[in-house]
């Protein structure tokens, strides 16, 4: 059918099977997640592919991508460190935590580290208010929570990821 479909045929069949025939369009969001799995953002060509699979237009798919914050049209760091700075987290120090993490990584909020690995972003409530400061890590097609953080713990996590990637490259 198209590039995206051919690459993930079995998975896409599984996604489509969850919805009735008249609800094919429901697959748009699952397919956007799939399309950004490899590079952390949705390549433009994928919009047409998704539209073709779900029977919508590429414009519709692009507008959905733009509406939802977890879809990204532009490349950034391989991992996005997304720190909640909403009210309950802010009451537990998440704003200064965000600054500290940025300082230690040598970047400002929404910037990417020189090695291209980490982008730090301030985001809205993640339903972890009692375990703030916290962040979610979006990358490699996954989203993981890290709670009860301080800058030291977070930097250890960052270093672990860096080591794992260095090993991956060396192997």
């Amino acid at each position: 059918m198209n590039k995206l479909y051919n690459k993930y045929e079995k998975e896409i069949q599984g996604i489509l099977a969850r919805y009735p025939a008249e609800g094919k369009r429901s697959a748009v969001m699952p397919l956007l997640f799939l399309a950004q799995r490899d590079s952390g953002y949705v390549p433009e060509a994928a919009l047409t592919d998704i539209a073709e699979i779900t029977g919508t237009s590429a414009t519709d798919v692009a507008s959905i991508m733009g509406f939802y914050t977890l879809f990204h049209a532009e490349p950034a760091g391989r991992y996005r460190i997304q720190i909640c700075t909403d009210l309950p987290c802010a009451l537990r120090g998440s704003e200064s935590y965000l600054e500290q993490v940025c300082d230690r990584l040598g970047i400002k909020e929404s910037e990417t580290t020189e090695d291209g690995l980490f982008t730090v972003e301030a985001v809205k409530c993640l339903a972890a208010c009692h375990r703030a400061p916290m962040f979610q890590l979006q990358g490699d097609g996954e989203i993981k929570y890290y709670e009860d953080q301080n800058v030291e713990i977070t930097m250890q996590i960052v270093e672990e990821i860096r080591r794992a990637i260095a090993t991956e490259k060396g192997a």
Partner: protein, 417 residues
């Protein structure tokens, strides 16, 4: 509470394992419903229990179930697992730790309205949780509790998870349906209500995760037993998400009617650094800011009492505690910024109102406002009220109006000298 009814994982280790859940009365209620009760009897039992929607609206659950018409098929059930209100983190704990009780509730609800397909709509950030639930659903299919002709009866049911992708508005049930249909998460004009024209234009029941998690114990033990907890108009137990300036933030499952005083000082351990309590918000960022005086602290946390005594709805019971170090202009800047970010853009008063309120509070934080700007802020908020399709626009004004009225001095501190 001696033993938890909803957060049962705190008493029964390993209850997220199907064998353990079954050994602890798991699926007894579903089997009872399926084999010995008519769908209408199940709905009647839930209606009699007095259970009300735990997502915030507090609408009687059984009555909502009864709204689906018999002359339009198929029916769908959707579990609202979009938990996104700042200060709310209860559904996540349920699903992560006691997933089968939630799924059993969803299955009983589906049987009651005779739906053969149900969706769990999770916020996209719950990516790991969705994978976890997929595994649990698979376990149920393998055990014959889900699929075709369940347990030898004529009833069939399939459950699928569906991830959102970062949009608070999708917790609003019609925006959720739009999103589930692969569209922008923007609320629909009502009527028609989802019970009549819902998912794929079919009758659809939408219930919050916590609401559904109550259902198995109601069916198993009966409506009268459930009414033994809580108050006359607010039956049962509720999970209170306690956050902000308390020593022990977290989820507390307690009978409705527990007072603010008990929740914050007995269960929550009191105020951080033993500071003085200043205010509370009962329903996350969508709440009024209520002065935490004696009258407030003595108020029982139940739907009717919060409304009658404080004019501040209980909502999702996500209590944010604020101590005397918190400046209310700063707080309003936070909540307004949240709503500005989350406004879906459909209704002009909300889209523009949240934008201009945000611009004002942002200037306030830079001490770049005159005293009249405080009135202007309140004025913008008041003009938004009652003019939007869904509650988001209204919610964004609650903290603004009440904080300006009750804590004016906090705002005056930000006026340029």
């Amino acid at each position: 509470m001696e033993k938890h009814i909803l957060l049962r994982h705190r008493d029964v280790p390993g209850i997220d394992d199907l064998a353990v859940y079954k050994a602890n009365d798991g699926f007894a209620a579903f089997e009872k419903a399926l084999k010995s009760m008519k769908p209408a009897d199940v709905t009647a039992e839930v209606k009699n229990s007095g259970l009300r929607g735990r997502g915030g609206a507090g609408f009687p659950t059984g009555i909502k179930w009864g709204f689906l018409p018999d002359n339009s098929w198929p029916h769908y059930v959707v579990a609202n697992a979009d938990e996104s209100e700042p200060g709310t983190f209860k559904d996540r704990e349920i699903m992560e730790n006691n997933p089968f009780q939630f799924l059993e509730g969803l299955m009983i609800a589906s049987y009651a309205v005779q739906a053969n397909c149900a969706y769990v709509y999770l916020r996209g950030e719950f990516w790991q949780l969705a994978a976890f639930l997929d595994d649990k659903i698979k376990d149920l299919e393998d055990a014959g509790y889900l699929g075709e002709r369940i347990l030898g009866t004529d009833y069939s049911l399939h459950i699928h998870t569906h991830l959102g992708a970062g949009a608070y508005i999708c917790g609003e049930e019609t925006a959720l349906l739009e999103s589930l249909e692969g569209k922008l998460g923007q609320p629909r004009l009502r009527p028609p209500f989802p019970a009549v024209v819902g998912l794929y234009e079919k009758p659809t029941l939408i219930n919050n995760v916590e609401t559904l998690t109550n259902v198995p114990v109601i069916i198993q033990n009966g409506a009268d037993w459930y009414r033994g907890f809580g108050t006359e108009q607010s039956a049962g137990v509720k999970i209170f998400s306690l956050s902000g300036c308390v020593k022990k933030p977290g989820n507390y499952e307690l009978p409705l009617g527990v007072t603010y005083q008990e929740l914050i000082f007995e269960y929550g351990g009191g105020i951080v650094n033993d500071n003085k309590i200043k205010a509370v918000m009962s329903a996350g960022a969508s709440s009024d800011v209520v002065i935490a005086d004696e009258f407030c602290l003595e108020t029982p946390l139940a739907y009717e009492t919060c409304e009658e005594r404080l004019k501040a709805p209980l909502g999702s019971a996500s209590v944010i505690v604020l101590d005397d170090t918190v400046n209310m202009a700063w707080l309003v800047n936070k909540t307004v910024n949240f709503f500005k970010h989350e406004s879906c853009g459909k209704c002009t008063p909300c889209r523009e109102g949240t934008f201009w309120m945000n611009s004002l509070t942002h200037r306030m934080m830079n001490k770049d406002v005159a005293s009249e700007d405080i009135d202007l802020l309140k004025n913008v908020a008041l003009q938004m009220q009652g003019k939007c399709l869904c509650a988001l626009g209204e919610f964004s004004t609650m903290a603004v109006v009440t904080a300006v009225d009750r804590f004016r001095a906090d705002f005056e501190m930000h006026v340029r000298s």
